[in-house]
């Protein structure tokens, strides 16, 4: 019998001999500075050869969002050498020549999808070598702070031609087709215990006062140090089974110009403006398609939360709005083949459709958004994708997304980063994105994203210099600004600058403009900001590279031209890319030419909360997945069979309304209950209790007061569209004109302080019994209003 303390500990195993081997990668340690517009990191990799012969260690990792490698230093007993930036083919030649000569050689080469192979060859028996890799990375910027993400593991991904296997119990292997070059992927250990240790110590350097620093992924220690905050791993060490995620909230919105004049005499800066500077959102009916990833990797909580989120978002729709729902894995199912209005009947159909959705199969993301684009047709609209985004061949998917002309907003879910890809998918189509860990509330984040993306605050953003020295901006500003996501622009000038930059845009109330002063002085951050601009430009250019060009064809020649442009851009900023790699060869006494080092691939942990069997099913032939697909397709042929399937599955996942209500009551989770209330709001904005107009008004007022009491208003909080809709219903009621109590209540609800009362209890009665006690409500509401008046 085993106890919880006797879990098997996995160790690296030599696949050919079955012998346990010492870890080739001993430690991964991240240090550096996190600025509002990106991070400058140094990642220490400590490699050790425990084999009786020389080894070539290959470590595979994914780049964070908008990231590029700058350089590395390789250090060992009696030597230290810096890398050189070379065109990828030249770097590989240098590396191979070094290996052939028996010299210690290291190569950092980037492949498709932002996957990097760091190879260190000819590490001698017993030798320890450290590689210090400098990385520039972007951050997820929000009006009230930022989210920083660094990958400590690499997620296995879906690709139609990928080959996967459970090589040993709890050890998964994945190989990509030849189009992906000679990239080597790691082995995935179901249990990450026993793998290399990871840790971090980062400095948070923001100009605004920091209100809060936290991490949904790791236990952290925060120290104040000379105006900055130092964040480090609280335990001594951790395992590589999830990304590091840090959240930094500022007291005031992030705003202003960062950077300055660098040592090169040039101005490198970033301009940040909060979304609130762009006014109010446009009004008008919404056209939105929810695209839900139901691939196997979404199994469990992520899938359940995605369903719940869509149901809650639908609660904000009216009959004037149009919506569609698409579920995709390696095949696609649509709720209907056209958009539907937000009537209760259609929302109910959507709920049943989502209940029947099970997480199985691969992730054909492109098929999902292509189906959404077809639904939206020529009139366009928004697509909200909920996915873990664990796919390979992302450049092809990005090209397909751009071709649709639709705006895609992404809510990523996962413990291992596909943040880079989903950021690009949203940005390349004019949308916004957010990425959560699987242990965060996906549903609330989806509702928040839904509230932000419906109508942009600004479109057609232009920039011009109206005074002082000319400054240039690259990349171009986004096509639209959405609530909650600030505008961030990278700029350059030829020296000291005191300019005024004019921003012009189309707002909800016509053309608008704003002048922003840009005054640059010497700054230690200038170089970093310039490099962050470079890494962002490189990432954008890589996203537009043709993934599989054919030599000699027009496409192939265009790909060559693109590759040369990328090489020039890399060289300009001194940053690696898919066209340029970093290489170092250290010649040492005792190098033995011609010896073939043993290749050792560093294993990583299966991302936390990702089901191992979703990728590495033991001996599962492709037919088994097809069998499930067949079952699903069969079940959707008739409405009766769908309902039967729902009945079985609702019970197992405990997400039916009653189960959901019981959970929210048992846990006292207010967000759960608000989600349920949101999903109940009628298309006209009123709560469906009965046909009595007065009862409906009171039920709706109770619901409104519940949202207001939790800080959700028409301007803030994830439920702002729902609050707006409730208020619109209440104000439009004919009885408003003759009822002073109602007018006063609405006045306070819209402008005044929150009315105190047991609104949640009233709402629970409303949901459980389908009725409300109007007399008791008005008694409490009148008392609350009198108290406020007295104050």
């Amino acid at each position: 019998m085993t106890t919880s303390n006797e879990q098997p500990v996995f160790a690296a195993i030599d696949s050919t001999t079955g012998r346990a081997i010492e870890l080739a990668l001993q430690e991964l340690w991240v240090a550096g500075r996190v600025l509002p517009v990106g991070a400058a990191l140094q990642v220490r990799h400590v490699f050790k050869c425990a084999e009786p012969k020389t080894v070539e260690v290959v470590y595979a990792f994914g780049l964070p969002r908008d990231a590029a490698l700058r350089s590395f230093r390789i250090v060992g007993d009696g030597f230290s050498a810096m890398s050189e930036l070379k065109p990828a083919a030249d770097a590989v030649k240098l590396y191979e020549a070094g290996i052939e000569a028996g010299s210690l050689s290291s190569l950092a080469r980037q492949y498709q999808d932002g996957v990097v192979n760091l190879s260190v060859g000819n590490v001698r028996p017993g030798e320890t070598v450290a590689v210090y890799l400098d990385v520039l990375a972007g951050v997820e910027l929000r009006d009230d702070g930022l989210r920083f993400r660094f990958p400590f593991t690499l997620a296995p991904t879906y690709h139609a031609k990928a080959r996967t296997i459970e090589a040993e119990p709890g050890v998964g292997e994945m190989e990509l087709p030849e189009d992906f070059g000679d990239v080597i992927l790691p082995r995935w250990m179901e249990n990450a215990a026993g793998l290399h240790r990871v840790g971090f110590e980062l400095t948070i350097a923001l100009p605004q006062a920091v209100a809060e620093i936290g991490s949904p992924s790791h236990a952290v220690k925060v120290r104040h140090d000379g105006g900055h905050h130092r964040v480090s791993l609280a335990p001594e060490k951790d395992v590589p089974d999830r990304d590091l995620v840090l959240d930094v909230h500022t007291q005031d919105p992030l705003s202003g110009v960062m950077g300055g004049i660098g040592k090169d005499g040039q101005g490198h800066f970033a301009l940040v403006l909060p979304s609130s500077a762009f006014g109010q959102a446009e009004s008008g009916p919404r056209r939105i398609v929810f695209v839900v990833d139901r691939s196997g990797s979404m199994q469990g909580v992520a899938m359940a939360q995605a369903r719940q989120a869509v149901e809650a978002c639908l609660g904000a729709l009216s009959v004037q709005d149009s919506f569609g729902v698409v579920a995709f894995s390696d095949h696609v199912d649509c709720l209907e083949q056209q958009l539907m209005d937000g009537s209760l009947r259609n929302r109910d159909a959507a709920r049943k459709f989502l209940e029947a959705v099970e997480a199985l199969g691969g992730t054909d993301l492109a098929a999902g958004f292509l189906a959404a684009a077809k639904l939206l047709g020529q009139d366009g609209g928004d697509v909200l994708v909920l996915t873990d985004g664990q796919v390979s061949g992302t450049e092809t998917i990005l090209a397909q997304a751009r071709a649709t002309g639709i705006r895609i907003h992404c809510l990523g879910i996962g413990s291992a980063s596909q943040d880079r890809f989903l950021t690009l998918l949203a940005r390349e189509t004019g949308g916004v994105s957010s990425f959560l860990t699987a242990r965060e509330r996906v549903d609330m984040a989806a509702v928040e994203l839904f509230a932000s993306v419906g109508r942009p605050l600004a479109r057609g953003i232009g920039i011009e210099t109206v005074g002082g020295q000319e400054v240039s901006f690259a990349p171009a500003p986004p096509p639209a600004i959405f609530a909650g996501t600030p505008l961030m622009l990278f700029g350059e000038s030829s020296g000291h600058t005191a300019a005024r930059v004019r921003l012009l845009w189309e707002g909800s109330d016509g053309k608008r403009q704003l002048d922003v002063p840009v005054q640059l002085a010497e700054s230690g951050d200038a170089e970093t900001v310039g490099l962050l601009q470079g890494s962002r430009l490189i990432t954008d250019m890589e996203a537009r590279l043709d993934a599989t060009p054919v030599e000699g064809t027009a496409v192939g020649r265009e790909a060559d031209r693109q590759a040369r442009a990328l090489e020039r851009l890399s060289a300009k900023y001194g940053l690696a890319s898919r066209a340029m790699s970093l290489v170092a060869v250290v010649k040492r006494k005792g190098d033995k030419a011609g010896d073939v080092p043993k290749t050792v691939v560093v294993p990583v942990g299966m991302p936390q909360d990702t089901t191992f069997a979703a990728y590495f099913r033991k001996g599962t032939p492709p037919g088994q997945v097809a069998h499930y697909k067949y079952m699903f397709r069969e079940s959707t042929r008739g409405v009766g069979s769908v309902q039967k399937l729902c009945a079985m599955r609702v019970e197992s996942r405990g997400l039916c309304e009653n189960g959901f209500l019981q959970r929210s009551k048992a846990t006292g989770n207010t967000d759960d209950f608000l989600l349920l209330l949101a999903s109940r709001i009628g298309p006209d904005g009123g709560m469906p209790v009965n046909n009595d107009e007065e009862d409906r008004w009171v039920a709706t007022a109770i619901t409104l007061l519940c949202f207001l009491s939790q800080g959700h208003t028409t301007k803030s909080g994830a439920f702002r569209p729902h609050v707006g809709k409730l208020i619109a219903y209440l104000k439009a009621a004919p009885s408003m004109a003759s009822d002073e109590r109602k007018r006063r209540l609405m006045e306070l609800a819209e402008k005044g302080p929150v009315l105190s009362g047991n609104w949640m209890n009233h709402a629970h009665t409303l949901v459980e019994k389908g009725q409300c006690d109007a007399q008791q409500f008005w008694k409490e509401a009148s008392l609350a209003m009198r108290l406020l008046r007295a104050v």
């Binding site: 696949s15 290996i99 073939v596």
Partner: protein, 142 residues
């Protein structure tokens, strides 16, 4: 590329093998480490690869095209065709002691074992260079 004296056997360096097969050198080393491919026929500065390596790399590609992973290919080699199982080690050091004596030693032997073998080879080399004595001749007679 060289041709062995008096034989039709073609010998390639790792870079030449990579060019011949279109399989990058690092991937070839990876195959060797996984036991899919035999190591060079000779180790050291003159490490070389032959036609069997080209054939095996093509075989691996064919199996991959059929959807097999490298691990499955290793198993296939072990299960279906036991004679083709690649033993570890895959490379050999070649010590030429005299113009008429060459000794091959497994390249991945442990360091202590290699030192032991090298000492023995040194002794052997010394003995082979010594002038013929009466004692040697008696040994030969026995």
């Amino acid at each position: 590329m060289t041709r062995s004296e008096g034989k039709a056997e073609v010998e390639w360096s790792l870079a030449e093998l990579a060019e011949e097969t279109g399989c990058p050198p690092r991937t070839i080393r990876f195959y060797i480490a996984k036991g899919l491919l035999r190591g060079p026929t000779k180790a050291g500065r003159g490490a070389s690869y032959g036609q069997e390596h080209v054939c095996r790399i093509n075989e691996i590609r064919n199996w991959q095209d059929k959807g097999l992973t490298l691990t499955e290919i290793v198993r296939k080699l072990a299960g279906d065709e036991p004679s083709k199982i690649i033993e570890v080690p895959t490379a050999w050091w070649s010590y030429q002691l005299q113009s008429d004596v060459t000794v091959q030693v497994r390249a991945d032997a442990s360091p202590w074992r290699l030192r032991q073998i090298q000492r023995a080879l040194k002794d052997l080399s010394n003995r082979l260079t010594q002038p013929t004595t009466k004692e040697n001749r008696n040994d030969d007679k026995q």
